[in-house]
């Protein structure tokens, strides 16, 4: 769990809202990449579900 950065505030903790499960935060279709807060698009996962 060691921080991967030299930022003075190195950790981002995200809390999801209602009618969600966290996928919209670090997950499937364009949320925040848990490897470092960059854009993350993975449409394959949507295709898999459908």
């Amino acid at each position: 769990m060691a921080a991967t950065t030299a930022h003075p505030v190195p950790n981002i903790v995200l809390v999801h809202g209602a009618f969600a499960d966290g996928l919209e935060l670090v997950g499937s279709d364009g949320a925040i990449d848990c490897d470092g807060l960059s854009r993350h698009r993975c449409p394959e996962s949507i295709d898999f579900i459908e």
């Binding site: 505030v9 190195p10 903790v13 809390v15 919209e24």
Partner: protein, 200 residues
């Protein structure tokens, strides 16, 4: 951008349960934290943000009660009732009609995406909205608020009022309630900006 990022799997069963889940994750962090909450989770981080390692609060289209206030109190005070929710006999609120989900949460998303998100959603216990925040962390810590102009879940003017009342630094973007999905770049940049400004 090089941050260590964690998403809390908060259960949406009560304000207290969500705060406890968030505090567990906060205790796992090595170093300072920027705490981010979307929508309902604005209430959660307003309470959990009192933890000593939290250096700033980022609200994304969020409900932000004051000390001694609940999310329901806030919505009543701002005359912004929630609509489109479907209660069940167990005290849970659902938004599980895909078309309604699309309209309320993410009209700027593809319908296929809205169906997916609707099908994996967690309902929220109605008691969440009645629980009062003990002490609102935004009184003591810097805050940022991302306002979403095309929001059908929490109207933009209501978000503006909330952001003004808590003294948050703001950004407005053209997005539905689910800006994390429709505009991930803008959201990531906003969080990065907050992290940078919280260092000062």
């Amino acid at each position: 951008m090089g941050y260590h990022v964690t998403a809390v799997q908060n259960p949406l069963t009560s304000l207290s349960d969500d705060v406890i889940a968030t505090e567990r994750v906060l205790r796992r962090q090595k170093g300072d934290v920027l705490l981010v909450g979307h929508s309902w989770a604005g209430a959660v981080i307003t309470q959990a943000g009192n933890a000593s390692n939290v250096k700033g609060l980022v609200y994304l289209s969020a409900l932000v009660p004051d000390s001694g206030e609940s999310a329901a109190d806030l919505l009543a005070r701002l005359k912004a009732p929630m609509t489109g929710l479907s209660p069940d006999a167990d005290g849970l609120l659902w938004l599980d009609d895909p078309a309604q989900f699309h309209h309320v949460m993410g009209a700027d998303l593809a319908m296929s995406n809205a169906r997916f998100l609707s099908s994996v959603q967690q309902p929220i216990a109605a008691v969440c909205f009645a629980a009062k925040v003990k002490h609102a962390a935004w009184h003591d810590k810097p805050s940022w608020y991302l306002q979403t102009i095309d929001d059908q879940a929490l109207p933009y003017p209501v978000q503006q009022t909330i952001a003004r009342q808590i003294g948050a630094r703001t950004l407005s973007i053209r997005s539905s309630h689910l800006s994390l999905i429709s505009q991930p770049d803008a959201v990531a940049k906003f969080i990065d900006r907050a992290a940078s400004e919280s260092e000062r």
